[in-house]
């Protein structure tokens, strides 16, 4: 249980770090990830900062959920599932537009592999916590 909570907190720190970078840098943050954007469009910049701001929220929610992974079992599942869904969004992008930078590919692999693993780990923990205990 403790190891799972620590993993969720670690994920929160990663979400905070990436989101803070993009929220503070906007389009320039995308350049750091390998995007080639020669100019800054205010709408694009606004959108990147907005989505990054929401990801700071993902970090905050992960910290809340890590405090009690049984109580918040359903929202935690939804959150982890949505990150995996974001990875599927990246796969669609690969199919339609092509391969992004290596760091973004690594993020995609992490989203598609680590999230299902965390979900399976969480499901096992919930099952063991809810199973009647024999003393």
């Amino acid at each position: 249980m403790r190891a799972f909570r620590s993993s969720v907190r670690l994920l929160a720190v990663v979400a905070f770090a990436i989101a803070a970078l993009e929220a503070s840098l906007g389009v320039a943050g995308e350049r750091l990830l390998g995007a080639e954007v020669p100019f800054v469009d205010p709408v694009l910049d606004s959108h990147i900062r907005f989505f990054a701001g929401l990801w700071i929220g993902v970090g905050a929610l992960l910290l809340v959920f890590a405090s009690d992974v049984i109580r918040y079992a359903t929202p935690l599942r939804i959150l982890l599932g949505s990150v995996a869904l974001g990875g599927v969004g990246r796969l669609v992008s690969v199919c339609l537009v092509g391969w992004p930078s290596a760091i973004v590919v690594a993020l995609m692999v992490f989203e598609l592999v680590a999230m299902p693993l965390l979900l399976a780990w969480h499901a096992r923990l919930v099952r063991s916590e809810r199973a009647p205990r024999t003393t």
Binding site: M1, A23, G26, E30, G34, A35, E36, V37, P38, V40, D41, P42, V43, L44, D45, S46, H47, I48, R49, F50, F51, A52, G53, L54, W55, I56, G57, V58, A60, L61, V64, I70, Y72, T74, P75, I78, L79, S82, V83, L85, G86, G87, V88, G89, R90, V92, S93, V94, L96, V97, G98, W99, P100, S101, V104, L107, M108, E129, R130, R133
Partner: protein
Amino acid sequence: MSGLATFLRITAPVFVLVGALHLCLGLNADALLGAKLPADVIADATLDSQNRFYGTSFTLYGALLWLSASDLARYATVLRCLLVVFLASGVARLVSIALRGNPSALVLGLMVTELVMPAVLLVWLARSTRGEPPKPSLRADERRAMKGD
């Protein structure tokens, strides 16, 4: 209480719709909002990947709003977090204006909504849950199990 829950249930599908739009259109969804992006920027795979990722995972907010509406007392903390984050994200748009200039009128409209609606909903939530005892969130056997942790 039920008025707020109904409002959240009406709002939640909008987030799923926006997520689906980004999943299907990528950066062209931003173009719909008034972004003036040349073809080579729209074809940038890294930017497109980031856009589809953020857009698709945005559906999280719709799912969590829907879940919160199912039991406002139990998920009050989650809902408060969501609303505060929305407010903060609206502020992030203000930062963008300060640094990069005004976006399209549509995005300005979105920003006003993001700054006003969370504040209104936070007050609504506080009034709805005022005086209500915290709802037990765990079954008795779950609480016993937690004590044994």
